[in-house]
Amino acid sequence: MLPEELFETLNEQFRCRESQIRQLSALYSPWFPSPPTAVIHGLPSTGKSSIISAVLDVNDIPHALVDSAQCVTGRHLLERITGACVAAIEAAKLGSDDEDAVEVDRQMVERTENISALAVNLTMLMDGYGEQKGASRKFVLVVDGVDKQREAPPTLIAGLARLGEMIPGFHTLLILHRPLPHLLHISAVPHIHFPPYTRAQCIHILSRYPRAIFPELPEDDEDYTAEEAAQDNEWLWPRYLGLIWDALARGAARDLSEFEAVAERLWARFVQPIVDGELGTRDFSRLVIRARPLMQGEVGLSDGWVSAGAGSGTTSKSTAAQITGKGVEDANSPHDLPYFTKVLLCAAYLASYNPARQDPIYFMKTADKKKRQRKASATTLAKASKHKKIPRQLLPPSPFQLDRLLAILRALLPHSVPQTADLLTTLATLVSLRLLLRSGAAASTSASASAGTTAAGDVLDGAGKWRVNFGWEYANALGRSVGLELAEWLAGGE
């Protein structure tokens, strides 16, 4: 077991993780035997990997830590494990001042194509290592987030879990997000759970470093000293954290780092009345009333470059821009699409959302507009009475043929359309921008073409079908900018 003073330092460093630290240091102590494999599991930002490496460091156990988030393939992970083990064992040998601390033979462990090669390499590595000072010498391999590994071979986790059984003195520690016993194929593996922090724990941890109310202390006020400011910060920050937790984080950002991010994002806005001198530093309840719109909206929770509600209202947009400090592009940007591109997009939207059956009603030049609307609503009503139909606009866009698109384009425009290749080039541009998608069998060929192999399928092959990849708002705005009211042409409109 850890000496009590060491334990105290660790506990000071990592709050609210007492039992986990005790369990870990019991499992990996320099004197007692350790299990060949152990599993640490818990949600993100619960302190798993940092506590593990701290405990191993304190106990002076040589270890290698590999983060599988940085590994692109399974092979990549294995190569990195080998590399990290070689480096760690070399360092351990140097540290032990061994006379015959021979360099690890790099040629020997050059390739690690699969898990068996890893086992062989590690066996060779550990060969000269474990016997130097008796059996008590151990080596721990920590693999972080191995259940999220990209392109992992199916036997990866089970294989890693078995390494400790095959190689004496070698111990594997797997960090997982969720415990998956069936993946390990061995029983009685010690599991240590890192539960998410509770409200009190979160606030306790984050209160250790309170944020400053004033970015710099007001110079004209000599009475307000730095100590007083620090006291105010310490007083206000935990209360503010509690407020944020109750209002926002409880539902949407329970993870410690997300909680911290949300709190940081809104802090400047929250204390703005104090900085402006309107309220005192201890007027918490009035500050809360002032901050009510902040707590009710989703401003603090948006992670994106553009806030989610940017299109709906100007107020949320401006607040989002103020809070996140990110420039929000104006809705009517000067980067206008060319005329035919816009009309083509409108036509594509109509082709996707109008049933092809009703095209004669909507797009024949002879059809009267009023009649068209009445007829359309009559048919939809008749249908609706029989069985409930989901409105078409809520459904995904249906595929259409190229000729139908071109025909609708002609129907939409009051003037004639020049029959040049430019229109088709425009279409190809829209496909490359992913505003239009190919669907069905042709999509795979175009995907392979874009993958750079060979241009197998013609992008403009007449047989293929197409879909739009944008919504009603975008289409409607496009239509208005070229003087088309799309609702008039759309079937099933209210």
Binding site: D403, A421, L423
Partner: protein
């Protein structure tokens, strides 16, 4: 030589000479001179435009590079700095922007710019491989073999970012900028994955990402997972919209002292309309201009007169005949005849080539001066309109097109401007005067300078702007009822002495401008020698830049005579009307296509065969041959994408394309 395993091939000549008539005759004799003229004149113009365009986005370049220099602060908080550059749909502006950005970044500090395209990076592994390869090639030292030796933990896979880290450790790089070209074309999951991976390396490798956004930011953001977005810190930038860049490019191309050739109204109208309707792309504009220069110098023998240092001896004789046949020359001669001694001048021009040479040289330089003045006046009109409040914005290009069409004189844009100048208050007028002074060369300056002085003395001791008496601001409408009739009468509030003095200045300025515009807005076709300085032929541009493949194929199939031009297929050969053009002499595919046009969306192949057989009309023993023709034609239609085998009905094909769409 055969005893050697390998030998080095030494070419005796640089290029084999084509067997063709070496000595051109007729008007082609000036070909070499014209080629020289083109080689001299066009590259200079191109460079002028290109240098102007390179500086268009300097503000955005400044912004992004500033962001890059401060990116370390963002990375310290564990986030990836992301610059979102909104480029619009045009890809060319992005390439020029990225070029100047990477020049800026790589010159001033240790930065590395890597541009990625979706075609070359379909998945994460390949993307990283390309990234590392480009980054290591972009640096000044080392190839891949070296980097493999340097690292200290055994062999690394070629997509391991550890390689990049080792590489950068030696170079002390401040930023590794990854520019995603056309970020819409990347797969959303791939982008998210890349961001995740990069953010886990950001403490060791100073990464920074640039996305080029062609549509909208929301569109891009929706495709990236929220978890990845959380790892980024974005800032938006916007580069100059393509339409503005186009205006600028056109302005550079037509305004200036060294312009040899102008593009006429119909060609420029076509170019600009195409830009507005289909693509916004400056490269296309430059290409169109280049093609105009090429067509003019390669096909118009008289273009040699655009050479500055042309000698009389260098002009072949028949060129003078061509000159005498020019439309503008004839009109000019007729107008000379009306003045005194005109007949002598005309006689000399018609008889002496040498005299004509000098006259034409003068005519060309005069025509150039006139067109230059016209273009400058168009520009002045545009500038003044932008300075006067409450005038609609008309693009410079459209004004230019109307100016070269000769429609600008007394046109609405000019009259609007002149009317509002009458009402302009005294805080706006000085700027207008300055613009006009800057525009006008030496003559008639004195009047303007004097106006400016008077204005200065008038306004020097006043704070409120003066108003001219044309301004309706001081007008009140008075209603009087006399014998149950309402009379409206306008009444001017009394204007002060200063105001009336100001009104006088405004009137003089107005008259000056009116005269100036009257003088400069000429009809280009009335200018002597306009054929030489203005190129205005639409059809070459239309043929070259706006191909119509589908139309051409459909026309070839439905009216084969248009292409074959044989007597047998002539539409009227059969004696019947134009509608019925089917005949056995036509190509089989064409016959089948015309039958196909008459049928519905589902075609029974047996019916088609019967009809085909009836048209081709073979006798019984020829049936096999006709059947071969039929099958071949059917296969060709299928190859052209017009029919498709139908799954709905047996022995039927689906009609896929309709004519004229």
């Amino acid at each position: 030589m055969e005893h050697e395993v390998a030998y080095r091939f030494k070419a005796t000549q640089s290029r084999p000479v084509k067997r063709r008539r070496v000595l051109p005759g007729g008007l082609q004799t000036s070909w070499a001179t014209r080629k020289r003229a083109y080689d001299e004149l066009w590259p200079a113009q191109r460079n002028r435009i290109q240098t102007a365009l390179d500086h268009v986005n300097h503000e955005t370049v400044d912004g992004v590079s500033h962001f890059a220099f401060q990116a370390q602060d963002v990375r310290r908080s564990g986030k990836v700095p992301v610059a979102l550059v909104i480029t619009g749909s045009s890809i060319t502006s992005w390439t020029s922007f990225l070029g100047s950005l990477s020049d800026r970044l790589t010159s001033s500090r240790a930065n590395l710019v890597v541009s990625l395209r979706s075609g070359e990076s379909p998945n994460l592994k390949t993307l990283l491989r390309v990234l590392i390869a480009k980054a290591s090639a972009g640096g000044d030292s080392g190839n891949e073999d070296e980097t493999l030796l340097h690292h200290n933990t055994g062999r690394l896979l070629n997509y391991d970012l550890q390689l990049l880290e080792d590489l950068l450790r030696e170079r002390a790089t401040e930023n590794v900028v990854i520019a995603f070209e056309e970020s819409e074309t990347f797969d959303g999951a791939l982008l998210s994955d890349t961001i995740n991976l990069i953010s886990s390396w950001v403490d060791r490798i100073p990464f920074m990402i640039i996305f080029s956004v062609a549509t909208t930011l929301e569109n891009l953001q929706h495709r990236i997972s929220r978890g990845s977005l959380r790892h980024t810190e974005g800032r938006t930038f916007s580069i100059a919209p393509a339409s503005e860049v186009l205006e600028l490019a056109l302005d550079i191309a037509v305004r200036g002292d060294s312009i040899p050739l102008w593009v006429g109204c119909s060609v420029s109208n076509m170019i600009m309309a195409r830009q507005k309707d289909y693509f916004q792309c400056t490269d296309l504009l430059i290409d169109s201009l280049q093609y105009a220069y090429m067509s003019h110098f390669y096909a118009n023998p008289l273009s040699i007169f655009l050479l500055e240092d042309l000698q009389y001896a260098a002009v072949p004789r028949d060129h003078f005949e061509a000159l005498r046949n020019l439309g503008s020359f004839r009109r000019h001669v007729e107008s000379i005849l009306e003045i005194e001694n005109g007949a002598d001048v005309v006689r000399a021009l018609l008889e002496s080539d040498e005299r004509l040479f000098q006259y034409a040289r003068d005519g060309v330089s005069r025509a150039r001066a006139l067109v230059k003045g016209l273009v400058a006046a168009v520009h002045l009109l545009h500038t003044l309109r932008s300075h006067v409040p409450r005038l609609d914005h008309i693009t410079l290009s459209s004004l230019y097109i109307r100016g070269l069409a000769g429609e600008l004189n007394l046109s609405p844009p000019v009259r609007e401007l002149l009317l509002s100048i009458k009402m302009v208050p005294s805080n706006v007028l000085p700027r207008l005067l300055e613009e006009v002074l800057r525009h006008s060369s030496n003559n008639s300056d004195l009047a303007l300078v004097e106006l400016q002085q008077r204005l200065k003395t008038l306004t020097s001791c006043r704070t409120a702007p003066l108003r001219s008496h044309h301004d309706t601001h001081g007008e009140t409408i008075r209603t009087t009822i006399v014998a149950q009739k309402v009379e409206l009468s306008k009444q001017k509030s009394r204007i002060s002495e200063d105001d009336s003095a100001y009104s006088e200045i405004v009137d003089q300025f107005h008259d000056y401008l009116e005269r100036h515009f009257m003088r400069t807005f000429l009809r280009p076709e009335n200018i002597f020698m306009h054929e030489i300085v203005i190129y205005d032929l639409k059809s070459p541009h239309r043929d070259v830049f706006m191909p119509r493949p589908r139309f051409a194929i459909e026309r070839a199939l439905s009216l084969p005579h248009d292409y074959l031009d044989c007597s047998c297929c002539h539409p009227t050969a059969g004696g019947s009307n134009l509608e019925n053009t089917l005949s056995a002499s036509q190509p089989a595919t064409s016959i089948l296509y015309q039958l196909y046009m008459e049928s519905g969306p589902l075609i029974n192949v047996a019916d088609l065969w019967l009809a085909f057989d009836a048209v081709v009309g073979g006798t019984n023993n020829q049936e096999a041959a006709v059947m071969t023709q039929f099958q071949r034609a059917l296969a060709e239609l299928r190859y052209l994408g017009m029919i498709r085998p139908s799954r709905r009905k047996a022995d039927h094909v689906t009609k896929v394309s309709w004519k004229g769409l």
